[in-house]
Each structure stands twice: as C-alpha cells, then as structure tokens.
C-alpha cells in the first residue's frame, strides 16, 4: 500500500506531471487556436506533449493494471519525445520556428522535461510489485 504509485514520492511526482499537463495543454491550445498555420510542426508536437503529460498524470494517479500500462507508455513516449525533439531542435532549428516544451531538451523549463521521464520511469519500476489498491 505504501508503495502504490500515487503515494509518497509518487504524490509529488504526479503534482509536477499535472503542472506540465496544464502548461503543455495551455501552450498548445493557444498556439493551435491563434496561429496554427505559422509553425505546424512545433504546434502539433506541443499538442502531442500535452496528451502525453495528461496520460502520464492519470496513469500515475489512478489505480489498476490498465492505468499502470498507460503510465509506462506515456513516460516512454515522453522520454523518446524529449530526446528526439531536443536533438532535432538543435540539429535542424529551421524545423522549429517556434518553441515546444521539448525544444533544446526542455531548456525553457529548466530542463525539467528531460529529468521528468527518467523520474517517472524510475518510480514505475520502483512500484512495479506494489499491490495496486490505490
């Protein structure tokens, strides 16, 4: 019980994920609503990031095997996203006329987007054998 995903350190981790879910949703919402045709690639990636952060937050916060799988998948996609987008934004800056959460490996957010998926995956690994009551 004490090792369930939403307890202890997990509680703080979920709070941080929720912040990023809100931030990415807000950013992509404004971008897509006001200037979608200016920079489609970063704006679609912002929207993808928003979905990933929402899925990770829910997957970590809710009990059940299904949600655990959602959390694994979301944190995995998040790690791949921040690494691929981070690298591309440095190698091919022309593709990114506007920033995404993951540009420059999350430099605009104190590199938290780079640290967060490692923390999420480590927490999922740490709680892998926990009885999934909540």
């Amino acid at each position: 019980m004490s090792e369930a995903r939403s307890h202890g350190l997990g509680r703080v981790l979920i709070a941080v994920y929720a912040v990023f879910a809100l931030a990415a949703t807000g950013r992509s919402g404004v971008q897509l609503a006001t200037k979608a045709d200016e920079a489609p690639v970063p704006y679609v990636l912002s929207a993808l990031a928003a979905v990933v952060y929402i899925a990770a937050t829910l997957g970590l916060a809710r009990s059940g095997e299904g949600w655990r799988r959602v959390a694994w998948l979301a944190c995995g996609v998040e790690l791949a996203g921040v690494l691929v987008v981070g690298a591309l934004s440095l190698v091919e800056p022309d593709w990114f006329p506007d920033d995404t959460v993951w540009s420059g490996f999350g430099a605009g957010y104190g590199y938290l987007p780079l640290v967060l998926p490692f923390a999420g995956l480590a927490w999922l690994w740490h709680t892998r054998d926990a009885p999934d009551a909540g």
């Binding site: 509680r11 912040v19 807000g26 404004v30």
Partner: protein, 121 residues
C-alpha cells in the same frame, strides 16, 4: 499587471513554499497555519483574476488575450488543486506538494508579467 498585487502574491507563495520545506524537514503534517497561507494565496489569485481581466478589457495594447487569460485562470486553479491533492495524503509527501505549488505561482506570475509587458512595447 498590478505591481503591488504581483509582489504580494509572490511573497505569500514563496512563504508557503518555505513553510512547507520546514514542515517536510521537521516531518510535521499540514496544519491550519499552512492552510491559512494557502487560503490567502487562493483569495489573492482570485483578486488577480478579476483585476487582470479588467486590465485585459481596458488595454489598448496588442496583448495575447488567450495567453493572459490562460495564466490568470491557471493561477486561480493552483491553490485549491494543490491543497486537495496535498490533503489526500497526510504525510511528508503531501506537504511537499505545497512546495511545488508555492514555487509554481511565482513562476506563473513572472510569465504573466512578461507576456503583459511584451505587448506594451
């Protein structure tokens, strides 16, 4: 944005974060003092929302209205959401959630000010 309000909210938010850090170190659970500070922060963000919306309606500057409204609404959501999530577990971890909230509010205020100032140039 109203400078004294931004400053006051930043001070209260950082105070919440600082008190929460002390509580986590001392292993004290959330009490009425910390809740009182969060309540003050919640009321402050509501005042910020109202004055902010009035400022948005009145200004002649080319300000990004969705962005400003997004930050104003986000600010109002943080104190209640953090409090509910923190009280869900009466432990160090629950208290630590308030550190996140206390640091997040000044960041949102800073971004709000930047967006607002950028439009005035």
């Amino acid at each position: 944005m109203t400078a004294w309000l931004t400053t006051s909210l930043t001070v209260v938010a950082l105070l919440v974060a600082a008190v929460a850090v002390v509580y986590v170190v001392l292993d004290r659970s959330i009490d009425r003092w910390l809740l009182g500070l969060m309540g003050l922060l919640a009321v402050g963000t509501l005042v910020q929302l109202v004055t902010g919306l009035v400022a948005v309606v009145r200004t002649d500057d080319d300000v990004s209205v969705p962005t400003v409204v997004g930050y104003l609404v986000g600010l109002v959501l943080v104190p209640p959401a953090a409090t509910v999530w923190a009280l869900g577990e009466r432990s160090r971890a629950g208290t630590a959630v308030l550190i996140v909230a206390g640091l997040l509010v000044p960041f949102l205020l800073l971004r709000l000010d930047q967006v607002w100032a950028a439009a005035g140039v």
